[in-house]
């Protein structure tokens, strides 16, 4: 912006800002209609309530819901075949049990499409290659994509890669690493879902995943954008 434009913009700010940001007091009832000769408006002192402005305003209660409770997530990151494989894998690894929803009901695969899509490249590659490997093995062994395998067939592909591991140290072999990380992610996405929470609440159990959330603390305005 040229300096003179900047100055003009600054000069305009008080009027524009007051018009945009503050609710304006209605004109006094005795004000002249447009087009008549200007006359001095009668002086009407603002009431005490008007002087206080919005200082005593209380926001009305809003019945808010989280989007997952009322809408279906769009997916963008995985291909159709990858997403279908991820849905099948999530149903295999985290089915509905003990009255709790499974990964399908929690829309874990759709959430992971969002999460992995926002993740660093190495995580994206791990998932894409892992899901492609599921489809490749499924076609090689059973002639169908992974999404169409029954439980016994899917188990035959997944179980050899299912290894125990310690925190922060998933297996190094890429397919076993994918199964390990996807398994953990599917479990977390399911158990931290709105669907799981609702099921736990309705059964009278304490829902997992509750905690104290730290808001941004005095954030730097330069980094708000």
């Amino acid at each position: 912006m040229q300096r003179r434009d900047f100055v003009k913009a600054m000069v305009a700010v008080p009027v524009a800002a007051s018009a945009a940001l503050g609710q304006q007091a209605p004109p006094p009832s005795g004000a002249a209609p447009p087009g008549t000769a200007p006359v001095a408006p009668p002086t009407v002192a603002p009431s005490a309530a008007e002087r206080r402005g919005m200082s005593e305003f209380k926001a009305p209660p809003v019945a808010s819901v989280v989007p997952d409770a009322i809408a279906s997530p769009d997916t963008h990151f995985f291909s159709q075949s990858q997403l279908a494989a991820l849905r099948r894998l999530s149903d295999l690894l985290m089915p509905p049990l003990n009255g709790n929803p499974g990964a399908l009901q929690a829309q874990a695969a759709e959430f992971l499409d969002f999460l992995v899509g926002a993740s660093p490249g190495d995580r994206q590659v791990l998932y894409r290659q892992g899901l492609d490997r599921l489809n490749t093995e499924a076609k090689k062994q059973f002639g169908n994509p992974f999404a169409e395998l029954d439980g016994r067939q899917a188990d035959k592909i997944v179980r050899p890669a299912l290894l125990p591991w310690m925190t922060d140290h998933p297996p190094k072999e890429p397919f076993a690493r994918f199964i390990a990380i996807a398994h953990q992610d599917i479990r977390t996405a399911t158990m931290n879902s709105e669907a799981w929470h609702a099921a736990m609440v309705s059964s009278g159990e304490r829902a997992p995943g509750a905690g104290l959330f730290w808001r941004p603390i005095d954030p730097d305005p330069k980094n708000w954008a």
Binding site: N192, A210, W214
Partner: protein, 522 residues
């Protein structure tokens, strides 16, 4: 206009800076504290949430604080944003630099494990010939440790183990569970001490600078603090060679300011303190500022399940409890392929993490039930040798959000650390086998350097000005009115969580500083 000048400028508000403020103001000295971050309001800045209400369902934002393995979506806003204050390392040698700039620093979130160093650390060179000794001993620090332990209310048990020095403790429960008695019976003939852990109880659920050290300092009326003051560099009086104060940047407005001070105490946290000195181009006549970066190896251990406690069959009082097995290698005999040592923390009686079980679906649910209350785990804290090669330098090509050059960190573990970790897992496996534990998972590979959040050294103390930056009082060899009182002064790291030693040293340095000011030397 009269020149504004403070008696003592303290940079940093964590354990070390808080201790300095506490001691100096208690002796009548006026202080100003600069802190790079804001003041957190524990009521207003936190709220109870369920994970599904958060944008990432409790997963952290994948691109936020990628090096903070400890972060979750719940606490991600408390750590330093790596986009605001970046750092770099060589590809293939990652370093996890975990930082907090809130007022109170990392003292807000530390694990509270509270140990003294022993002379196996202070005089390590005397034991194995490697590196340097500290210019202080346990005997010299003992009274300061005791006072810190009183303030922080350390729960522990007097054990009489030289490498696990006793202190001024609130006596912890002396009883062991049946399984722990079994561990003790296995370890005793091997010369492995099994001790009660030592933790800071603090007050009102917090053991921090902000509730145990700073309140008295502020109440004295002699401490003022400026939050959101990012120090760019220290200034030097060219006539005297002494530090004269600091330039700092307001975190929000980017307004540049200068403060003048009679004495400057740097307590910004190990690597931030060294970064500040390097960016200021001072206190480095030895040429080793930034060298001998150390930390501790974390991430190694085993997880298992006590067979006779599975399916809820453990007798009452059999499971439960935790123990610290302080360093036992290279005490009375020599390990074959490493020097120094490690400690093992063990715990039993909880649940097993699901990723330690090779099962899914209904089978995983059944296994989880089977193992409920039967878990056994070891977690290893290993000493990292102070090596000249492990160091930090200034990377002028990359600046932070305030235009201040950042750090490039070069650190990697060597065979000594890796052999030590393999030995620790072998010891853990033998213990598990002898005690009836079914091992489910094990790991011998440490997490990247820095993960322990115990980065130490780079501005070490010593008697020889050519081989150290600070003298035994945490005072610069080069500039007598400059003190550095945080973990950067460490000569060796040991296996112990360092907070108690940091505070004992900063308390001792503060009292020396007071005396020097009283005598007119500063």
């Amino acid at each position: 206009m009269a020149e504004k000048k403070v008696d003592v400028l303290i940079i940093g508000s964590g354990h070390s800076g808080g201790m300095v403020a506490n001691i100096l103001t208690g002796k009548g000295i006026s202080c100003l504290m600069l802190n790079a971050g804001p003041i957190a309001d524990f009521q207003k800045d936190r709220e109870s949430k369920v994970a599904y209400e958060l944008p990432y369902r409790g997963f952290k934002d994948p691109k936020k604080v990628p090096h903070v393995f400890q972060a979750s979506e719940f606490n991600a806003n408390t750590w330093v944003d790596e986009k605001e204050v970046p750092y770099s390392y060589d590809p293939g040698n990652p370093y996890n630099w975990v930082r907090v700039r809130l007022f109170g620093g990392r003292s807000l979130f530390w694990s509270r494990q509270s140990y003294r160093h022993s002379d196996y650390e202070f005089k390590a060179k005397d034991h194995d010939g490697f590196g340097e000794n500290w210019p202080v001993s346990l005997a010299e620090l003992d009274p300061y440790y005791s006072r810190v332990e009183t303030i922080f209310r350390i729960r522990g048990r007097r054990e009489g183990v030289p490498q696990y020095p006793d202190g001024n403790f609130i006596e912890s429960d002396g009883n062991w569970s049946g399984f722990m008695e079994r561990v003790i019976a296995h370890c005793r003939p091997l010369g492995i001490p099994v001790c009660k852990p030592r933790n800071a109880i603090g007050v009102d659920g917090l053991a921090s600078s902000i509730n145990l050290l700073l309140p008295d300092a502020f109440a004295s009326g002699r401490l003022k603090a400026v939050p959101n003051a990012v120090v760019r560099e220290l200034t030097v009086d060219k006539k005297t060679g002494l530090v004269s104060g600091a330039h700092f940047v307001d975190r929000h407005s980017r307004r540049e300011m200068t403060i003048k001070a009679r004495v400057v105490v740097v307590a910004a946290g190990t690597l931030e303190s060294t970064r500040l000195l390097l960016n200021s181009g001072i206190a480095n006549s030895s040429g080793i500022l930034g060298r001998y970066l150390i930390d501790q190896t974390y991430g190694v251990g085993i997880v298992g399940t006590v067979k006779e406690a599975q399916n809820g069959k453990a007798p009452a009082g059999f499971m439960g409890g935790a123990a610290t097995l302080p360093r036992f290698r290279n005490i009375s005999s020599r390990a074959k392929d490493f020097i120094r040592g490690y400690a093992i923390n063990i715990s039993c009686g909880g649940n097993v993490d699901t990723h330690c079980i090779a099962a899914y679906g209904e089978e995983l649910l059944e296994k989880t039930e089977q193992y409920r209350g039967s878990s056994f785990s070891t977690y290893v804290y290993g000493e990292v040798l102070p090596r000249y090669e492990n160091h930090v330098t200034i990377n002028k090509a990359v600046v932070d959000a305030w235009g201040i050059p950042t750090l490039h960190i070069q650190a990697r573990y060597t065979d000594n650390e890796l052999n030590m970790m393999r030995d620790a897992v072998d010891v853990s496996l033998a213990m598990a086998d002898a005690c009836g534990v079914e091992v489910l998972a094990k790991n011998t590979e440490p997490n990247p350097p820095g993960y322990s959040i115990h980065e130490l050294g780079t501005c070490r103390m010593g008697d020889n000005p050519k081989a150290s930056i600070l003298n035994k009082w945490n005072q610069s060899h080069d500039i007598r009115n400059l003190f550095v009182v945080d973990g950067s002064s460490f000569v060796t790291g040991g296996w112990q969580n360092p907070s108690m030693t940091i505070m004992a040293l900063s308390m001792r340095a503060s009292e020396y500083l007071v005396e020097q000011m009283r005598q007119g030397n500063l």
